[in-house]
Amino acid sequence: MTALQHVTVTVNGITYERSVDPRLSLVDFLRHELHLTGTHVGCEHGVCGACTIIKDGMAVRSCLLLAVQSDGTNLQTVEGLRNAETGELHPIQQAFIDEHGLQCGFCTPGFLMSTLELLADNPSPTDQEIKDALDGNLCRCTGYQSIIKSVRLAAAKTSGGKLAGTHGSA
């Protein structure tokens, strides 16, 4: 077995230090080493977007990265969206509930994180911009219409003010 490699990574504001197999994927690291199982795996080859997380402010596919590539980075995952102190959901989460933006919910964490990135860059996106931002996320259940509505609602609820990042993030 290859020698383990040391990784220091901050996820949702908490810093973790682990020794990992160099071939361990980032999504497996998050799910199985850090027990952050909210990030899902739909394809493991970079197409479906279920594994989307935010790495140093940018949405990335955690199935296409290795855990060792996250060394020294700041990650945000779906677990960080809800405010653990108040119990309040993030406006994007609430909007997906309000507009029925999910069915099975397996794709949802990926959509939420892509939306987080979108609204951080563009607080009042047009429908076309919403579609362009989410076209790397596949959903097999909803047919996307309610997802677009959810993003619109999230934007409306947060526009004007700066959209909060994930809880505990820098």
Binding site: G38, L102, C104, N137, R140, Q145
Partner: protein, 802 residues
């Protein structure tokens, strides 16, 4: 929107429902949006090992030797499973016709690329996959048959040597005087169609954790199971266990659409656990496995259809000849899918006679499995395309020919030639509504204008009947006996008046837990928050089936109404004793048991439940201290089919009409869906928001099937699809944002008037878009009769008329 609940308060003791019929927020969602819901890959059991499966690269080969000794030696490996273990421990799966099934892992020969030949359990999936590379398998390659024509050729290599040929089933159904009808018709139109393989592809692949209790010889399987009770029974049969020694625990799953029914992975993980002396073993199918060989390929069909029509456009007869490539052996309930169209064979029309020739053939492709809608999506594509062919020839408008052939509202209940009875419908009202919404006339004007500009603009207008609430009797003539599909719930009220509903199915995405809470909350006049819906594993759940066949919404409503009704009866007796009157004087209304005609004389249900559990001294003699009830619902009035398969099978007949406007790019063959309108009549909408979600989701899958998705196989039997970059699921840019309208014709035969509604859109969308494309291109003298109408396929067709 809000739906009106018919027959109140007879059906539900509430003056004005607060939840049922409203766009209620789903109780499933907080767990899902926070990533807390326990999908199967989140589950970890102490000492758990991880499985990986070695799959054959050959479509047809004899296994000469499997040497797993090196894999067994690899540090971290806890068990290796090969065909030898299968031979010793395992039976052929029970989901295929006699003589056509396979064991979960190949023993003597492999019949499709991706069929398991060995498996490893190890301390991690990574190590398990390392071990697979150390397993040597020696094959003797056999000639493969890769389509039904090859498979039926004289001297074709046989997949199952003990059978006479590769034909699994060959039968004819004749309903009515088909010969006379066709002889007397003014026109008979005949056309061939090809529907290529597509599949469910839920975002979560299937997975499980299995633990074999080697001391007590019993098995527990946790997994993403759509129909837990059925899976448990199947494991008992395939793994040689008494049925009460298999416990299945279904986890919430990331979609299924029929495509998670494959039990091979579960059987393999179970046997690995057995071999590992009872260590739990997790197996998570990866997407490549799913695409190659998972239980996710469906409908590989060759059709020839004939439609008999009178000069005035009256449709009188329909013949459909189907050759269905089942892949390697019909293990995925293949016969069922081919037989389902019997439930709505002639669609919305008063066609008087029909015939169905059905031939299921085994080939060296992956076995086919169920997919949302089951048989009708391809069948409706054929039927509705034939109607358009007739209309074009007769110079009739596509809407007009449909309208004049509808079953009229006063003809219901209506028995179609293939035997099913439609409960109700108002097809013309649906048509008129969608025509108005779409501004159909203006669309046609736009089309005329576009044509003069040389653009290929087309309109599809298609209507279907969605058979809802499946019953086994629909499939008796193809070898699946039985009448009735039980669905049970338990409703319990605790000493403080809080209510728990126990069901036998896990979350899958359709919002059925929310529906259960809505129904119970309104029945007992409590807040939805005080109703909890909980899952019971197969060993303790009431008899159940779970998701499937556009059935669960209606079935769960029936079960909940039944259970609540039983509790109401008990409460009537108890409250009568407490309020010193006769039980007949008591009524339950809005959460209170009231003495009729005596305002103020009432008890809240919590008081009654509390008394039952805490004051046995006050109960009427013989009353159990048990404020709970179970009820198992099945569709009423189902019967055994005759020899032509005719019976009352699916309980409800929903109806939808879709109108699409598409533009085909002459240079690239790309089809752009410009506008899409839907009116759907699925009876009472118990939660209109989730019904709408079902419709839009079905549209998306329909668009995928008709424009993009295809399991492509090379001529030598090698699958060319193994990634999402080869199998093209529609994304947010591809799925049309549809405009939807509703009509509600309550079903006279179901609780609260709801009809099955999970599959209607996938029944209708492929046909609608295909008809629109043909409407666009027919002026060029061409038509497309093969799905998907991918850019490549359309471009080739367009090149022919360049």
């Amino acid at each position: 929107m809000t739906s009106t609940i018919p027959k109140l308060p007879q059906d539900m003791p509430v003056t004005s429902p607060r939840y049922v019929g409203k766009e209620v927020k789903r109780i499933e969602d907080p767990g899902l949006v926070t990533g807390r819901t326990e999908f199967i890959d989140n589950l970890k059991l102490p000492g758990m090992a991880h499985a990986a499966i070695l799959r054959t690269p050959h479509p047809h080969a004899r296994i000469i030797r499997v040497d797993a000794s090196a894999a067994e030696q690899l540090p971290g490996v806890v068990a290796v499973l090969t065909g030898e273990d299968i031979k010793r421990w395992c039976n052929v799966g029970a989901t295929s016709p006699e003589g056509w099934g396979s064991t979960p892992m190949a023993v003597e020969k492999v019949r499709f690329v991706g069929e398991p030949v060995a498996a490893v359990a190890a301390i991690s999936r990574y190590v398990a996959e390392d071990a697979l590379e150390l397993i040597e398998v020696e094959y003797e390659l056999l000639e493969a048959v890769t389509n039904p024509e090859e498979a039926q050729a004289p001297n074709a290599p046989k997949l199952f040597e003990h059978n006479a040929s590769n034909v699994i089933l060959d039968r004819n159904y004749t309903w009515g005087d088909v010969d006379r009808v066709f002889a007397e018709a003014d026109h008979v139109y005949t056309e061939k169609f090809r529907w290529n393989r597509v599949g469910a592809n839920p975002m979560e692949t299937s997975g499980c954790v299995c633990q074999w209790d080697v001391v007590n010889n019993s098995l527990t399987c946790y997994g993403s199971y759509q129909t837990p009770g059925f899976i448990a029974l199947g494991r008992a049969a395939s793994l040689n266990l008494p049925s009460n020694r298999v416990k299945v625990v279904a986890h919430p799953h990331g979609g299924s659409f029929g495509g998670k029914g494959g039990p091979r992975g579960t059987d393999i993980a179970a046997l690995l656990s057995r071999k590992a002396d009872g260590k739990p073993v997790k197996y998570i199918e990866d997407r490549v496995e799913y695409l190659l060989a998972g239980a996710g390929q469906s409908w590989d069909r060759y059709y020839q259809a004939s439609l008999a029509v009178k000069a005035d456009g009256t449709l009188v007869g329909l013949k459909v000849n189907l050759v269905d490539d089942q892949g390697a052996g019909a293990e995925g309930y293949g016969t069922i899918s081919a037989a389902k169209p019997l439930a709505a064979f002639t669609g919305c029309y008063t066609i008087e006679a029909a015939q169905y020739d059905l031939k299921l053939v085994a080939t060296n492709r992956a076995p086919t499995y169920p997919y949302r809608g089951y048989g009708p999506p391809p069948h409706n594509f054929v039927l509705e395309s034939m109607v358009d062919i007739a209309a074009r020839d007769l110079g009739m408008d596509a809407a007009q020919i449909r309208r004049m052939n509808y079953i009229a509202p006063d003809q219901f209940p209506y028995t179609i030639p293939s035997g099913n009875e439609y409960d109700s419908g108002r097809y013309e009202v649906v048509l008129d509504k969608v025509i108005a919404m779409a501004n159909y006339r203006e669309m046609r004007e736009l089309q005329v204008k576009a044509r003069t500009e040389g653009r290929l603009l087309g309109i599809g207008i298609v209507n279907t009947v969605e058979p809802g609430v499946f019953d086994w009797n629909a499939y008796s003539t193809v070898g699946v006996p039985g009448v009735g599909v039980p669905e049970g719930v338990k409703v319990s009220i605790d000493i403080l008046g809080q209510i728990t509903v126990t069901v036998g199915f896990a979350l899958e995405g359709q919002g059925q837990y929310t529906l259960a809470a809505q129904l119970v909350a309104d029945y007992f006049g409590v807040e939805m928050e005080s109703v909890r819906v909980t899952y019971a594993s197969t060993d303790i759940a009431p008899p159940h089936f779970g998701h499937g066949g556009s059935r669960l919404g209606v079935a769960i409503s029936g079960a909940i109404m039944g259970a609540c009704n039983k509790i109401e009866e008990k409460f009537r007796l108890v409250s009568a004793a407490l309020m010193q009157c006769e039980p007949e004087q008591i009524e339950l209304m809005d959460g209170h048991l009231r003495v009729k005609g005596m305002p103020g004389a009432e008890m809240h249900i919590a008081q009654v439940a509390g008394t039952m559990l805490g004051r046995s001294d006050l109960l009427p003699p013989g009353m159990e201290p048990c404020p709970e009830a179970s009820f198992v619902w099945t569709a009423p009035d189902r019967n055994e089919p005759d020899e032509q398969g005719r019976c009352k099978s699916y309980l409800t007949a929903a109806n939808a009409c879709h109108i699409a406007m598409v533009e085909v790019d002459r240079d690239t063959g790309v089809t752009d869906v410009l506008k899409y309108f839907i009116v759907d009549d699925c009876g009472t909408r118990l939660n209109p928001a989730t019904v709408e979600g079902q419709i839009q989701g079905g549209v998306a899958q329909g668009v995928g099937a008709v424009l993009y998705e295809e399991y492509v196989y090379a001529a030598d039997g090698q699958p060319l699809v193994s990634l999402f970059s080869d199998y093209l699921l529609p994304g947010i840019h591809e799925v049309p944002m549809t405009e939807k309208g509703a009509l509600e014709t309550p079903s006279p035969v179901t609780p609260l008037g709801a009809k099955g509604c999970g599959e209607g859109a996938i029944h209708t969308t492929p046909a609608t878009i295909m008809c629109a494309i043909n409407d666009a291109i027919h002026p060029l003298g061409i038509q497309i009769t093969e799905t998907p109408a991918s850019p490549n396929r359309l471009w080739q067709l367009l090149q022919e008329v360049r």
